[in-house]
Every structure is written in structure tokens, then in C-alpha cells.
């Protein structure tokens, strides 16, 4: 457990000098405890104190930055205990084992999947370039091609000299050099460090991996990613769980690094197996998951899953407030109003879409809470609904004057009617599953 804010506060100068950018020392301390500000922001904390604190505040798992991506930094094994902080990232794999045409085709597909889901950009973050033995030239070629894409790179080779060339070929890119092992770690570490790359380490066994990581740490390299793939799916799962669990539950800082699982290697080219394993390692402790290909069929469920799992339980997912015309709704279609809690939006819009009946779904700003919670917190009320109608100029945009309220807030009907006298306010259903029937039976 990290330090409490009050303990940190005792070590601050208690002058509220604001040089850290926060109004008071107390607020600063609370933010450090929460992990949202680094201790170094306070210019008055002495090195002694820093050392004293950094040991206590050091997380069980390192947080590594690579370009705009963050890896690791997890503090819990199950998301409900607090939250997961660094989402699983995905890589598409090209390899010198494929012929050039196949690789070209794959690289061409990389940028194809790139979309927004509830405010999050969904795309394949990495290209994983694998070099097989005796294919050095083609490997370097492939690295260059991959580097031309707007994606970070994972370069997989255990040949340290080749690695240096590949890193040079990819200069300017954010790179993970995956290929260190018990026999080559020193040279690989040198190459990675020189190129400012993270180093991927693997081992024949967990013991060997542990020893190699310890040796690398001795060399001063703590920018590591642990390759937990192993020989088969069972071993991969075991390795990935043991590494994460050792770090968080066993306080073994040697395992306190992000993991990389090559599920393409486990799936034998079967896209369904690949999806199954990618799902497994998204749910359980894979920091980077490597696939042969990320098409929409895989991306839609995997990114949805990832977005769910890496949601902070304390911060509900929100969708943007606004008018969402469904099933080709126009100004003559009725309006249904609900909250901006993402789950509510998805379920309600899904049911409306299935009904096939045009509806303008009005999503009002309710702080991302569900209907009843938002109502109880005063964030979904007659005035908030009326305010929404005004702010979004609903009356100008839509001629129809039927407004359907969620059944759970039937109690608001009178008040809403009072505030919106031109509208016909109707109480809808308690549950989303009843919407289809409600819309079909509704008398216009």
C-alpha cells in the first residue's frame, strides 16, 4: 500500500508556496499519494526525503513510457480492487518467414482499423517485425517498411548486431527490441539502451527469465518488457499470470515489468484462436498482445473488451451529450431522453435500433451516471432535461413534440411537463428490453 497523503504532507515544507502548481501543500500531498503528481514537483523536498519516500511510494510494477503509450504501473490483480491503469496494446506481426507479398499486404492493412469508440482512439498501436535466421537483409527491409507506418515498432531478433542495424533503420521511431535472453542480454541491452529502446526479455523458464531480468537490472537497465509467450498457450498463460502476480502479490520487483504475449505464435494462423487468446490475455495481464492481423472482426470485440476492462470503476464511461438520430430519424420523429452513462446509451440505442422505428435519442449530461443514480444525485432532473432541450436547441431542430422519459424517473413527468408545456411528455419503460414493444405499441 502506498503512502497516505498525510504522511507525505508531514515531509513537505508546509508553506503553500504553490511552486508545484497546486494551491496548498496538503492538496499536493494528496495528489502525490494518489499517484497523479510526482514528488519531484516540490522543489523543497530534500534528496534524503525523496529517497525515503521513493522506496515507500515506488509502485510494485514499473510504469514505462513509450511515445504516447504507457505500459505497466498496475497495483492490483483484479480491477475492482482499484483500477487497471495501462490498457493492453496490440501489435500486428510481419515476419521474414512470410513472403514479401504477404508482408506487404499485412502492412497495408495496419492503418485500416482506426476508429473512435466513446472518445478513445482504437487502432493497432504496434507493428511487430520478426526476423528469422538467415534473413538479415529482408529483416532490415521489413523494418524500414514498417517504420514508414505511423505506428510504434517491436523488433524481434536475438542477434545483437542485427538488432543495432535494425534500430538504426528505425531511428526516430519508438521501439521495443524484443530478443534478449540468458545468452545475449548484455549485448542486446547495450543496443537497446543506445537507441533509447525498451528491451524485451524472454527465458526458457520463469526461473531463467527472473535471473536474466535480475542481471539486466544489475547492468542498470530497467526499461524492460517481459516476453511471456513460452512454448504453448498453457505455458504462456502461466508465465503471464506468474509474472504479474509475483510483482503485485509477491512484491517481487524483478517481475515488476509489463508483459508481451505473442498469441500469433500460439494460434497456428487460426483467426478465431487468435481472438480467443487475445481476449484471454486482455482480461489477464497481457501488456502487449501480438496478432497476425487486426481486422474489424477482431478489433470490434477486442477493443470493446479492453475499453471495459480498463475503465476506472470509480469513473463511469460517458458518451457525449447531444441529439442522436437513430433509424434515420428526422425532425418528425419522437424524442426519447436518457443519461450519458455509456452503458445506458449502448443498451438503449441498441434496443431502439432493433425496433427499426426512427427516434431522436437525447443524451443529456448526467455526469456519466445511470438513470436512477443520476436522478438521486440531482444530475438528471426536470431542470436538467429542460436545460438540455434549450441548450441543444431541440425545439428548433425537431418538430415532433413527443418526449419519452425513462420509466424509472416517472416521478419527473409532472415537473418536466410543467417546464416544457409545448411537449407531450410520456413515461417510457422501466427496462430497456421493453423499449421495442413500447415503440411498436406507441400511439402517435
Amino acid at each position: 500500500m502506498a503512502l497516505k497523503g498525510l504522511d507525505i504532507f508531514k515531509l513537505t515544507p508546509k508553506t503553500n508556496c504553490k511552486q508545484c502548481g497546486v494551491p496548498t501543500c496538503m492538496a499536493f500531498s494528496m495528489k502525490v499519494a494518489q499517484g497523479s503528481l510526482p514528488l519531484e514537483k516540490c522543489p523543497f523536498i530534500t534528496d534524503d526525503v525523496k529517497d525515503q519516500l521513493s522506496e515507500a511510494t515506488a509502485p510494485p510494477m514499473k510504469t514505462l513510457k513509450l511515445g504516447e503509450h504507457t505500459l505497466g504501473g498496475e497495483t492490483v490483480l483484479e480491477r475492482h480492487e482499484k483500477t487497471f491503469v495501462s490498457k493492453t496494446l496490440y501489435a500486428m506481426k510481419v515476419s521474414t518467414a512470410n513472403d514479401d507479398a504477404a508482408n506487404d499486404a499485412l502492412l497495408e492493412k495496419v492503418p485500416k482499423v482506426d476508429y473512435d469508440r466513446i472518445g478513445e482512439r482504437m487502432y493497432c498501436e504496434f507493428v511487430f517485425v520478426e526476423g528469422t535466421e538467415g534473413e538479415n537483409a529482408r529483416f532490415l527491409d521489413l523494418v524500414k517498411k514498417a517504420a514508414a507506418l505511423d505506428r510504434d515498432l517491436i523488433l524481434a531478433t536475438s542477434d545483437a548486431d542485427l538488432a543495432k542495424e535494425a534500430l538504426a533503420a528505425a531511428s526516430g521511431k519508438n521501439v521495443i527490441l524484443a530478443g534478449a535472453n540468458a545468452s545475449n542480454y548484455e549485448a542486446m541491452s547495450g543496443a537497446a539502451t543506445a537507441a533509447n529502446a525498451l528491451l524485451g526479455v524472454s527465458g526458457e523458464s520463469l526461473e531463467e527469465l527472473h535471473d536474466t531480468v535480475a542481471a539486466l537490472e544489475k547492468l542498470g537497465n530497467k526499461n524492460l518488457v517481459l516476453v511471456t509467450t513460452g512454448k504453448n498457450a498453457k505455458e504462456a498463460f502461466r508465465n503471464t499470470v506468474e509474472v504479474r502476480r509475483g510483482a503485485i502479490k509477491g512484491s517481487d520487483r524483478t517481475f515488476g515489468y509489463p508483459s508481451l504475449v505473442d498469441v500469433a505464435a500460439l494460434s497456428g494462423g487460426d483467426p478465431h484462436m487468435e481472438a480467443a487468446y487475445a481476449s484471454l490475455f486482455t482480461a489477464k495481464y497481457g501488456s502487449i498482445v501480438v496478432l497476425t492481423e487486426m481486422d474489424y472482426a477482431k478489433a470490434l470485440p477486442l477493443y470493446g473488451l479492453r475499453q471495459n476492462i480498463f475503465t476506472d470503476p470509480q469513473k463511469p464511461m460517458k458518451v457525449d451529450p447531444g441529439i442522436y438520430p437513430l433509424n434515420g430519424a428526422d425532425e418528425n420523429s419522437i424524442c426519447m431522453v436518457t443519461v450519458d452513462f455509456a452503458l445506458t446509451y449502448f443498451i438503449v440505442s441498441g434496443e431502439i435500433e432493433r425496433s427499426g422505428i426512427p427516434v431522436n435519442l437525447l443524451i443529456s449530461d448526467a455526469g456519466g451516471y445511470s438513470v436512477l443514480t443520476a436522478w438521486a444525485a440531482g444530475k438528471f432532473s426536470a431542470s436538467s432535461i429542460a436545460k438540455f432541450i434549450e441548450e441543444y436547441q431541440v425545439e428548433e431542430k425537431i418538430k415532433n413534440r413527443v418526449l419519452v422519459l425513462p420509466g424509472k424517473v416517472a416521478v419527473l413527468k409532472g415537473e418536466v411537463q410543467e417546464k416544457l408545456p409545448n411537449w407531450k411528455v410520456v413515461v417510457g419503460t422501466n427496462e430497456a428490453v421493453e423499449i421495442i414493444r413500447f415503440l411498436k405499441d406507441f400511439q402517435y
Binding site: 480491477r79 520463469l206 480467443a276 481476449s279 470485440p301 470493446g304
Partner: protein, 313 residues
């Protein structure tokens, strides 16, 4: 510092839970570790897969499903085909047509359908009720009678209707009961408690703690399952040690990603493949979080998920 491994082998375990009879009976649960953590202790009963068939007939928009069941004229044949899918452990028959807000098929017809299904398979049978919570009471009463002696699992006893289902299916006909609650560990536990208070043995209860498609509030499913497993194993809470059976198919084959046609969103590619992957991803994540069994629809999904289970156990 050498590697010292952390183990999570618990003293408590999930109830071993058997459905069906004879050679083809299926046992799930029994483990004292987290899902697939065979490295902490052996998992004797691998997670199971049920093939879902519906009394509304099979999806005509999905070629793989349509073709697989093509020509199956009655429920006996549907059940026979479903049983022949490699990797299937049990048949999950969904009485969708009974929904009073849908086709409102009569209880007698539904009972007849269930009998037909029973004729087509010697695998264990799971009956999934209709959306009509009240109707399921009489429905399950009659189905439990008609399938008496087959040790079937009747899913979806909920807070609103558990009494009749527990008394009838659970006590009068000694069938297994599936307690369905909505992604909340306390609700799940409370339902198990009140069903037990009716006299149904905890060993005769399985749980459906709620399901969702990946991307659709699936975090609640994950957290509920993970908390249930920790309570069952770590704290030895015997009112949460029932195995979890999750009907995945009905969730995934209804979401936009699986339903929208390729004409509508060409860049998404073929609809069928999206549905399969949605089913595979959701089922795999359910199993990783705690489901002891998942109910799936597409033969390709069943193939992939059953292979994953084999590889991991």
C-alpha cells in the same frame, strides 16, 4: 533474489455440479483455484460449452449457422445436429417463442418441444426460459415434469419467480436450478440464500451472475465474477460456491457489431465473422473471469473456445 512463486491455491472450492445422466453426464466446478490456474492446483473439471438452439429456429442470416442446421425439420433434429458439433458438452434449449410479448407459444407446445429435444440428444440439457418472467414459472414446472429423471438445468430462476421454480423444478422434480441475477455479488448471494431457504440444496444450484457482450458494460461481468470467485474460494462463502453458467450467445448475437450487414458498413467486413469473433472474445473473457460453462451458438466459436479450454487445462 531468486524467484519465489506466489500460489493461490485455496482451502475452499467451487461446488462440483453435475447435469445429465449416465455416460454423457457433465460435471463442472470442483476447483480450488482461479480460472485456468492449473499451475496452482489441478483443475479436474474443465469449463464446459453448451450449444444453444432456439425454438424460434436458427438464425437464417448467418450462413454458418443456417447451413449447419439446414433441413432440420424438428427440434429432435436440431438437438441431434447441435450435439454433433465437436467440443459441445451440453445442449442449451432456449424457449424464446414462449415470450408473452413475442410469439406467446403455449406451455403445452413448449413442453412438447423440450421432449423432442430430449429425443435428439443424450447430452445433458439446459433449458433457457423465455423473457416472460412470470410465464417461466408454469413453463418450468411443466418442463421439469416432462424431463423428469434427466437431471436438466433450468436457467433463469430470478428474484421475481424463484419460489415456484425452486419448489417445482428443484424440489418436486429434483432438477437443477440456475439462479439469475444482474451483475451484483450481493444480489447473486441473496438469491442463492433464498433459493436454499426453500429447501433446494446449494449443490443443486448454478448461477448466472449476468452476461454482457464485450464492450457493453462487460466490466461489470468481469468484476462480479471475480468477486464471486474470491468470496467463494478465499472466504469460503458457501452461498457463492455455485458454479457460474453464462449464456453468451444471446448477448453477442444481438449487438450491433454482430448484426449490422456488410452492405450497411462495408469496411467492417462480413457480418458472420464479426459475430463469431464477438462470441469467441466474449466467451473467452467470461471463462478467464470465472464462468464454469458458457453457452454459444456458432459451430466455429464452439470449435475455437473448446480448443482454448483444452489447451489451457
Amino acid at each position: 533474489m531468486p524467484l519465489t512463486k506466489t500460489s493461490q491455491k485455496f482451502n475452499a472450492s467451487i461446488n462440483a455440479f453435475t447435469i445429465g445422466t449416465g455416460d454423457k453426464a457433465v460435471t463442472m466446478g470442483g476447483e480450488n483455484v482461479l480460472p485456468f490456474y492449473t499451475f496452482d492446483a489441478p483443475i479436474e473439471n474443465a469449463p464446459k460449452i453448451g450449444a444453444e438452439i432456439s425454438d424460434l429456429g436458427m438464425d437464417k442470416n448467418v450462413p454458418g449457422i443456417r447451413d449447419y442446421y439446414a433441413g432440420a425439420e424438428d427440434f429432435t433434429e436440431l438437438a441431434r445436429r447441435a450435439s454433433a458439433i465437436p467440443g459441445v458438452d451440453f445442449i442449451a434449449f432456449a424457449l424464446d417463442a414462449a415470450d408473452p410479448n413475442g410469439e406467446d407459444r403455449s406451455v403445452e407446445e413448449c413442453v412438447e418441444e423440450c421432449k423432442q429435444v430430449a429425443e435428439g440428444t443424450d447430452l445433458p440439457i439446459v433449458i433457457i426460459g423465455s423473457k416472460g418472467i412470470e410465464k417461466n414459472e408454469t413453463l418450468f414446472d411443466k418442463v421439469a415434469d416432462a424431463l423428469s429423471g434427466k437431471n436438466v438445468l433450468l436457467m433463469s430462476a430470478r428474484e421475481e419467480n424463484y419460489k415456484t421454480i425452486a419448489a417445482s423444478a428443484g424440489l418436486a422434480y429434483s432438477q437443477k436450478i440456475g439462479a439469475e441475477s444482474a451483475v451484483d455479488i450481493n444480489l447473486a448471494k441473496q438469491l442463492n440464500v433464498i433459493i436454499s431457504q426453500m429447501g433446494v440444496k446449494p449443490q443443486s444450484i448454478a448461477m448466472n451472475v449476468g452476461a454482457a457482450s464485450a464492450g457493453y458494460g462487460f466490466e461489470y461481468v468481469v468484476s462480479t465474477m471475480e468477486r464471486v470467485k474470491m468470496a467463494a474460494l478465499q472466504q469460503n462463502d458457501n452461498m457463492l460456491q455455485m458454479p457460474i453458467v453464462t449464456p453468451v450467445a444471446d448477448e453477442v448475437w444481438n449487438v450491433k457489431e454482430a448484426v449490422v450487414s456488410e452492405e450497411d458498413i462495408p469496411e467492417w467486413g462480413p457480418q458472420e465473422e464479426r459475430g463469431i469473433q464477438m462470441e469467441v472474445v466474449t466467451a473467452s473473457a467470461c471463462l478467464a473471469s470465472g464462468s464454469n460453462a458458457v453457452i454459444l451458438r456458432h459451430p466455429a466459436s464452439i470449435a475455437a473456445v473448446s480448443k482454448m479450454i483444452r489447451e489451457l487445462i
